[in-house]
Subunit: 372 residues, 2 copies
């Protein structure tokens, strides 16, 4: 079952766990640490693939649950998979649908066999086994597939966490066995709740099965920030150095810096895109709430350090006007800016690790935020 | 008061009233016949100025009423006018606000002095005199300003139409007198309701005052299509050949072809942008309602004759999926297509007039539609 790892480690920080590497996929390689914009319904909301290319996005994330429900994976497969359907020729990672099903709460029931749930669109009854999660992702044709996992609520007892984690291991084995299209990579997901020892054990169980990369799941689910950082820091030493490490669903710009510091290579989060649509914009000095009256006559760009399309062409006053007027262009320009901010932050992080100056970079990053 | 005309007539059709010309503005020249995308609130909804450039938009329209209400013309003036505020370096025509105020119905009262109305946003009382309409448009810095006119409902008695038309003449004179920034052109608006003789008289009154171009207002307000075409055909011979002629708020692709046939040079309409957001898409074979189930697995582009960004990259099935999922990208891609359709139609019309083959073009245009 063991593959050659798709991950190549270029260099490691002498100060911390940070790593500079790359992951090879059937659509080329992407450089790590990397942030993956979220494209839930076969589109990164409010931007085109051309916009994503301009901001140097390397890999995006698709949500298996949503695509399975609408328009359906069989339809997407007819169009050359998700790449062909949505016109994106970079890499794509698809989640397994587990987290979304878990989020349906009363609409979902987990059994040994799989997850029974109801569509959030029409209430129809559906059942997803680990084998189905792989089949659907193979139809979608993603570069990186994720195992179906069970998510553990926060807080959860040790027994509850242990049981869910053991089930995730059995499902991971079934995903591995179901995996046919070997040009699509398959990552395992480390659970274990907030119990570091459970996470260490679970990591070893997944390594024994053998995957193309390893993710940390079930974090950023309501626990204190310090606890998340602690668990990430304790988990990464249990993951193989020669495979990529993905911290799922995380997070803020600070979370990315702290995750990289602790040895994480890959991140995804809806925060830059969702906040853009809510008018919360990231800058090197901190967040801006664009509807604020203080920006009414502000001729400056969102961030003087930013060279995105939005900052090169528009004032804060114009962006405030668009947001107040609920213009679609507001969502488009805000999303371009926020994603550019995240992707540029990762490019700067990669550069700093290459120069083995990530500690100084991190200090500057917080220093700029504190000046606000 | 008489200016040199900003319009240059290049050639006229030997078959009909169609003309090929250009209008010189402070932002360059635009080629006619031309369609002007509508940018109500300092943005053409759902697209960027770069998108507009890619589809060869030459001039766009801004709505004075909306900009006066929000964010205010004084604010926009501080940003180098509408051009600087919204980052558009092509030409801009602004309407006078008259039509929008008229559309407020019970919120508006017309007197000799001007129009009293209430803001549709917060109900505040406002009063716009003809002189104010010019002042606001001078602050906006548009290339072409329109006189404040009174709109005539359909149907209207001859007396009602006559009175409103006479008031429009008096207001037109006041607009002419108030006009200070002479690098901004000022167009008069011919009213007269559905009475061809009133329109002919009114045209002469406006010519006597002297404007940089002449518009036909108060059409496409509910009257039968044939009546509109008839009134346009009867009005254009009363307009000076060496000035451009603008048919306001019109219309469908067929209306553009028929308007050009009768000697119109300029058009604007919300139809391509509004229909895009409603999922109604224009093609050379007719309209497509993209939510229709027949497009669910349709691998073809919207229009095989179209080379817009949307048609070069996306299937009808994908566009249907985006529309059904209410994704912002749906509005963006649909708007790019519909505006491209309109602008390309006008480019083809200009080409046909240059070759003096507009009659054949018109026949082909309808022939393709009929094959659907």
């Amino acid at each position: 079952m063991e593959n050659k790892s798709p991950f190549t480690l270029h260099n490691s920080s002498s100060e911390c766990g940070a790593r500079r590497g790359e992951v090879k996929t059937k659509h080329g390689s992407f450089q790590t640490p990397v942030f993956m914009p979220v494209g839930t319904q076969a589109t990164v909301k409010a931007v085109t693939p051309d916009n994503l290319k301009e901001m140097n996005a390397q890999i995006i994330l698709g949500n298996t649950y949503h695509l399975y429900i609408r328009p359906g994976h069989e339809l997407i497969e007819q169009f050359g998979g998700l790449h062909g359907f949505m016109n994106w020729d970079g890499s794509i990672l698809t989640d397994s649908g587990g987290f979304q099903i878990f989020s349906l709460k009363e609409l979902a029931t987990i059994t040994e066999e799989g997850a029974a749930f109801r569509s959030h669109l029409d209430g129809s009854k559906l059942f997803l086994r680990p084998e189905d999660a792989i089949g659907v992702q193979e139809s979608l044709g993603s570069d990186i597939m994720m195992c179906l996992d069970t998510c553990i609520p926060y807080p959860a007892s040790r027994d509850q966490a242990g049981e869910a984690t053991d089930l995730t291991t059995r499902w991971a084995k079934r995903c591995r066995d179901a995996h046919r299209k070997r040009d699509q990579l398959l990552f395992g997901i480390v659970q274990g709740g907030m119990y570091a020892d459970l996470r260490a054990e679970h990591a070893q169980s997944l390594i024994d099965i053998g995957f193309d990369g390893y993710a940390l799941g079930g974090l950023s689910v309501g626990e204190p920030k310090d606890l998340m950082y602690e668990l990430v820091g304790e988990a990464t030493p249990h993951l193989p150095e020669n495979y990529s490490r993905y911290l799922m669903g995380v997070g803020t710009p600070e979370d990315l810096v702290e995750g990289v510091w602790r040895g994480i290579d890959m991140f995804d989060c809806v925060m830059p895109t969702r906040n853009a649509r809510n008018g919360t914009l990231f800058t090197s000095k901190g967040k801006i709430t664009i509807k604020n009256a203080r920006y009414r006559e502000d001729k400056e760009p969102l961030d003087e350090r930013c060279n995105c399309y939005t900052c090169r062409h528009y004032s804060r006053a114009y962006l405030r006007h668009l947001f107040q007027s609920r213009e679609i262009l507001s969502y488009h320009l805000n999303t371009i800016h926020n994603l550019h901010y995240y992707l540029n932050l990762m490019a700067e992080i990669r550069d700093a690790i290459e120069k083995d100056s990530f500690g100084a970079f991190r200090k500057d990053f917080y220093g700029r935020l504190e000046h606000e």
